[in-house]
Amino acid sequence: MHVLPYPVAAYIFLTGCYGLATSRNLIHAVGCLAVCQSATYVLLLAVGYRDGGTAPVFSDMKPGSRPLVDPVVQALTLTDVVVGATVTALLLALVLQIAKRHGTVDPDELRELRG
C-alpha cells in the first residue's frame, strides 16, 4: 500500500498550471492545458485501482474468478479523454484566429483587452 499516484497527479496538475501561467506562446499554453487534464486521468484511474485486480472485461475470463478494478472510473476517464481532445481542438482554432487577427501568439503582446 502506498499513496504515490495521488501526489503524482497533483504534481502534474500544478506543473501544467505553471506552464499555463508562464507560457509565451498560446499553442504551448493549450498544450499545457492538456497536461493539466492528464492529471485528472491519472487521479481517476488511481482511485479505481485494486491490488491484484484485472480489467473488468469478461470476454476471456469467468465472472467472479478474479478481483476487478473499478469500471466506473474507467468510463469516466474515457469521457474525459474525448472531452480533452475536443477542448484542445476548439482552443487551437481560436489560437489560429488570434494569430491571424493580432499577428502574434505571444500573450504578452495581446494588449487589446484591459482595464
Binding site: M1, H2, V3, L4, P5, Y6, P7, A10, F13, L14, C17, Y18, A21, T22, A46, V47, G48, Y49, R50, D51, G52, G53, A55, P56, V57, F58, S59, P63, P67, L68, V69, D70, P71, V72, V73, Q74, A75, L76, L78, T79, V81, V82, V83, T86, V87, A89, L90, L92, A93, L94, L96, Q97, K100
Partner: protein, 248 residues
C-alpha cells in the same frame, strides 16, 4: 516576466499544493478494495449480458453521460467549423502536390486499409473486448488521413466529401437521441436499455441497445474527427489571407 504574476503563482501554487498533499494523505491507500459503485456496475453489466463492463457503464448504466460527451464532440466540431470558416479577407489556394518519399508513400498506402479495418473491428467489438465507438472511431478517422501522407491532398479531398461527414456526424447524434427517446415512448425511461433482448453473453449482438449506441458513437466520432482534422488541414495547407499573396 511579470513580477506580480510570479508571486501570485508562487502563493497560489504553494497553497494548492499543500492542500492537495494533505488530501492525498487522507485518501484511502492506493489499490484499496472498497469500490461500491464499481462492484454494482459489474453486477449490472453481467445481468444485461454485456461482457465489457466499461461498455455497459458507458452505453447503458451511464449512457446519459455519454450523450453529454457526444454532444461536446458535436458542439466542438460545429464550433471549429464556424471558427475556422473562411473569413472575409481569406481565399483558398491550391496547394502544390507535396513531395513524399516513395517508401513513405508505400508504407502509408499499405497501413491505411489495415488501420481502417482495425478501427471498424474495434468499434464492432466494443461491448465484448476493450475498445468501442470512441477508440475505433478515432483510429478509423486518423487512418483516413494517412492518405495525405500516402498520396496527396487532392486524393484525400476526393475520398473525403466533407458535407457527407458532417451530415453523418449529425445523423449519428440524432440516432443516439432517438434511441434514447424510444425508451420514453416504450413507457420506461430515457435511454433505458429495455427495448431489445439482451442476447447471448459474449456475442456481437449481446447487450440490448448497447451495440446500437456504440455504433452510433463510433459513426459520430469517426466523422467528427475527420471533419476536425479536415478543417485544421485546410488551414495549414489551403486557406490564405489576402495580403499574404505569395505561395507557401
Amino acid at each position: 516576466m511579470n513580477r506580480l504574476r510570479l508571486w501570485l503563482l508562487a502563493v497560489g501554487g504553494a497553497g494548492l499544493a499543500a492542500l492537495l498533499v494533505a488530501a492525498c494523505l487522507d485518501l484511502p491507500g492506493f489499490g484499496g478494495s472498497r469500490h461500491p459503485y464499481g462492484d454494482r456496475a459489474v453486477r449490472a453489466a453481467l445481468s444485461r449480458h454485456t461482457a465489457n463492463t466499461i461498455a455497459s457503464v458507458n452505453f447503458d448504466q451511464r449512457a446519459y453521460d455519454t450523450l453529454g460527451e457526444m454532444s461536446i464532440l458535436f458542439a466542438a466540431v460545429l464550433g471549429c467549423v464556424v471558427l475556422l470558416r473562411e473569413a472575409r479577407d481569406e481565399h483558398r489556394a491550391r496547394p502544390e502536390p507535396a513531395d513524399v518519399a516513395r517508401p513513405v508513400r508505400r508504407y502509408a498506402l499499405l497501413v491505411l486499409p489495415v488501420a481502417l479495418v482495425t478501427g471498424l473491428y474495434v468499434i464492432a467489438h466494443g461491448q465484448l473486448s476493450p475498445g468501442g465507438g470512441f477508440q475505433g472511431g478515432v483510429v478509423a478517422a486518423t487512418a483516413l488521413h494517412l492518405l495525405y501522407l500516402g498520396a496527396d491532398y487532392h486524393a484525400l479531398e476526393r475520398v473525403r466529401p466533407l458535407g457527407v461527414y458532417e451530415t453523418t456526424d449529425a445523423l449519428a447524434v440524432s440516432s443516439y437521441l432517438v434511441l434514447g427517446a424510444a425508451g420514453i415512448l416504450a413507457g420506461t425511461a430515457f435511454l433505458a436499455n429495455t427495448l431489445l433482448p439482451y442476447g447471448t453473453f459474449n456475442t456481437l449482438s449481446s447487450g440490448g441497445t448497447v451495440p446500437l449506441l456504440n455504433a452510433a458513437i463510433g459513426m459520430e466520432v469517426a466523422s467528427a474527427v475527420v471533419v476536425l482534422l479536415a478543417h485544421f488541414l485546410d488551414q495549414a495547407v489551403e486557406i490564405e489571407e489576402e495580403h499574404g499573396r505569395g505561395t507557401p
